[in-house]
Amino acid sequence: MSHFVTIQTQIRDVSALEDACAELGVELLRDAEARGYANQTRHGELVVRLKGPYDIAANRESKTCESDNDGDNGTENPAPYTLTTDWWDGHVEKEVGPRYGRLLQLYGVHKTLREARRKRLRVTRRQETDGSIRLTLAA
């Protein structure tokens, strides 16, 4: 039996986000100010320091997500990070894609690589012509 699952990516793992930033060639700062239009700044638990004039701030909701009580698993999923930036004039889009697409893609790739490594699975990575990245995990 086979099945497939579609998932809406949520940023929860700072290390995986760091890997994604490294691949993009940008820096991830902790507890910093994100630069915006006209010298405005926004504080971020995490800040993606871009090469252009504006940055991306990442913050979590202060309340933790109440996860459904499955019974078998007592650990709560931490709240995901929400991204904020200044899209003016396409500076940010040029570096991370529309709606942070490229950043989210690389986060998903590096998060999968980390989880696969933890399970000691072999991974092959392939760049598809439509721009997607395909990872194959096997024993």
């Binding site: 579609t6 793992d13 697409g101 721009g131 995990l137």
Partner: protein, 80 residues
């Protein structure tokens, strides 16, 4: 994981993730990808692939054959 079992993770340029499990039998299939699903984000859609329907098709086909046979015998009855 057995030798023919593998998981494919496709990440679109928009950051949407599709996970497909191949070569698993029975309930091990959905267990196989759970460790990734929970870590990556919120699960949007879960769907069984062609492999799943292939293994279940035989039973439906037999049912159809039985129906056809019934129809044939009905026709024969009408003819006589």
């Amino acid at each position: 994981m057995k030798s023919n079992e593998h998981i494919e993770v496709q990440v679109s340029p928009e950051g949407a993730i599709t996970i497909t499990a191949h070569g698993y039998t029975g309930s091990t299939c959905e267990e196989a990808t759970r460790f990734l699903e929970e870590e990556l984000g919120t699960v949007g859609r879960r769907q069984r692939t062609r492999d799943w329907y292939r293994s279940n098709r035989n039973t439906t086909r037999n049912k159809n054959q039985n129906q056809n046979q019934n129809q044939n015998s009905n026709q024969r009855n009408q003819n006589t």
